[in-house]
Amino acid sequence: MKFECGDLERALAVPELLHEAREHLKNCPACRSELRLWNEISSAAGALHEDWDSPELWPRIKSAIAAEPKQRPVWWSDWKMWALAASIVVAAGLLFWLNWGPGNFGQEQAANRDFLTEQALRDVEKNEAAYTRAIDRLYQLAEPKLQNARSPLAVNSREKLILLDSAISDLRTNVQQNRFNASLQMELAALYREKERTLQELVTNDRKN
């Protein structure tokens, strides 16, 4: 290997190169000058070394940091919102399942295609009230996003919700006149489900963004 000035820094870190470096220094004033500077820096750095006044200083800083009141990270509020949205979605889903799930409404409808029994209607109306309350809570979560809808997706969701609310209102008017009609009740359930899904998507997308 032909030792060049550029190899000097590497030679200081690799002892195997020191012999070649020394040979090179004999005939290279520039490298000798650079080496002298290195040596001066090393000795100056050694003189600057100073012990801490108090060896307990760092442990004290550590404990002071530990005692600081912990600020909740920014994601905490989002996390709470997530949990709330998730719990509402789960509750709404459960209510939907209780009301119109396969073990309940589906069997009833299978036994009697056209009309509900009194008991089935009572269950449906009770659960429907709870289900709509859950959807309303989901709506409250999504409302700020809907009110300030700027993204095309949010504008679309708002439009869809208006459409669904109008259809639900129309259908409810018919259901009130024909409460035992199984087909109407099923259709109403489907619209509630669609509204829940739309709100859920909106809340989820909001959190993702």
Partner: protein, 490 residues
């Protein structure tokens, strides 16, 4: 004691009686012969309709009228009041369901529910109009055109002939096998159409659309739902948003206008115009020209006719283009391969790679350009990136700033001028041994070297040479600032 027990039993039985409901069903049947030129119309709500056809002129009306109430008398009384009105006029046989007025009373008719279901057999040659709500419609074998509208109930149409107009909302529409055109509109429901021999015009919102086997072209307008179109003859157009669009096996020209959804077009016999935003575009096996306009989208495609592509913030990767390629991108890499015609690429902030192209023009900035096997002239300019050209058969013009240039010319025979300029980096030019150029090379803060013999004339210095290589047949200008110039033999 016995009396008390009886009372207790009666009291216990009372809620059970209160919960019990009675149903009553009656039917309505009527047959009317339809006169030539008469159409059949049915206006209904709150129940399903099933209509099919036969060769006879008779319209056979069968209706199941059902009521449910807390006692049999109320159920019967209400069912009896539901009327099926049949009106036969010169141009039309009209059937209408009339429900009794419902005074709202908690203890009265509010406790009654009802539904009416129709089963109609109509002449197959009679035009049909159906208007329903809160009920499904199933139509089979209508051979003289129809206008069917419903809401909150599925609409199914099978084995028809003529022009069909089908409308629904909050429910699915399914159409299969119609000899003729179909016009269809839905909202909040999925739409499936197959085997339509004529034109299809379809509008939907908030629902998926699946179309297959349409004879004379399809126009689909949708939003918030995916659109899949397969095996369509004739020209087709899809407008969509917030949903992917997939088209395949089209015999005519195809146009897709999408936003916020990806576009995938394969096996198109004619030309394809594909537009979208915020999602990707993919195309393959397109017989005609392809035009892609996209924003914030990556584009990938191969095996197509002449290409015109404009995108941003996404990579471009295209190949096997028969004809010219005009590509505009930004903030994404552009890769092209096997383009038979003139290839023009404009890009920024993204590497441009071109392999096996016709004559090539690249305007790039802030990124490199790498091209090989260019059949024709190459004109390249960029900045802050290297330019590597390998195997250019034609004239070469490279303008670069702050980037190296390495060029290999494979020009043979006729004069193919070369002009290269860069700064703050090296120029390396590879020429064949029999190269024939009039050289003018100039640099500052760099050296000029040549592996080929140069016959010089005039002044000679290490940073400026004028002379000839070979017979000096063609112009060769190399200019650099702050970089070397090397002429190499390959």
């Amino acid at each position: 004691m016995i009396g008390r027990t009886k009372i207790a039993i009666l009291l216990l039985a009372l809620p059970v009686c209160a919960l019990a409901r009675e149903e009553y069903t009656r039917t309505f049947d009527k047959t009317v012969t339809l006169q030539p030129g008469q159409k059949f119309r049915l206006e209904h709500s709150l129940g399903d309709i099933e209509i099919h056809t036969h060769p006879s002129r008779d319209v056979i009306i069968h209706t199941d009228i059902k009521a449910s109430a807390s006692n049999a008398n109320d159920a019967k009384s209400f069912a009896d009041k539901i009327a099926v009105l049949v009106e036969n006029s010169a141009g039309m046989l009209a059937v209408r369901t009339k429900y009794p007025e419902r005074p709202s009373s908690f203890f009265g008719s509010n406790n009654i529910s009802y539904t009416v279901r129709y089963s109609i057999t109509a002449p197959e040659t009679a035009p049909v109009e159906i208007q329903n709500s809160f009920g499904a419609v199933q139509a089979t074998g209508l051979k003289a055109g129809s206008d069917i509208r419903t809401s909150h109930g599925a609409l199914t149409f099978r084995n028809g002939r003529g022009t069909q107009r089908l409308l629904d909302s909050f429910a699915n529409i399914e159409v299969s096998n119609n000899e003729g055109d179909v016009q269809l509109e839905d909202s909040n429901g999925a739409v499936t159409v197959s085997d339509v021999s004529g034109l299809l015009n379809l509008r939907n919102r908030f629902g998926a659309v699946n179309v297959s086997r349409v004879g004379r072209g399809a126009t689909v307008t949708n939003s918030n739902g995916a659109v899949h179109l397969t095996d369509v003859s004739g020209d087709s157009l899809v407008n969509n948003s917030f949903g992917e669009v997939t088209v395949a096996g089209l015999q005519g020209n195809m146009s897709v206008n999408n936003s916020n959804g990806k576009v995938d077009a394969n096996n198109i016999k004619g030309a394809a115009t594909l537009n979208t935003s915020f999602s990707s575009v993919h195309f393959s096996n397109v017989g005609g020209a392809v035009r892609v306009t996209a924003t914030n989208s990556s584009v990938e495609g191969h095996n197509a006719g002449p290409l015109n592509l404009d995108t941003s913030f996404g990579a471009v990767n295209v190949g096997e283009i028969r004809g010219t390629a005009e590509i505009k991108g930004s903030n994404g890499a552009v890769t092209v391969a096997n383009i038979s015609g003139q290839t023009n690429i404009r890009n920024s902030f993204g590497l441009v790679r071109a392999e096996s192209t016709g004559p090539l023009t690249v305007h790039n900035s802030n990124a490199g350009v790498k091209a090989s096997d260019v059949h024709g002239d190459a004109i390249v300019d960029t900045s802050f990136g290297a330019v590597l050209l390998d195997g250019v058969t034609g004239a070469i013009t490279v303008g670069n700033q702050n980037g190296a240039v390495e060029v290999t010319s494979t020009a043979k025979g006729a004069c193919r001028p070369i002009e290269i300029h860069t700064s703050f980096s090296a120029i390396r030019l590879h020429l064949p041994g029999d190269a024939s150029y009039r050289l003018s090379a100039k640099t500052s803060f760099g050296k000029i070297s040549s592996a080929l013999p140069i016959s010089t004339s005039g002044s000679l210095s290490s940073d400026s040479i004028s002379g000839t290589i070979g017979h000096g047949q063609c112009e060769l200008r190399l200019t650099n600032n702050n970089g070397d110039i090397s002429i190499l033999n390959h």
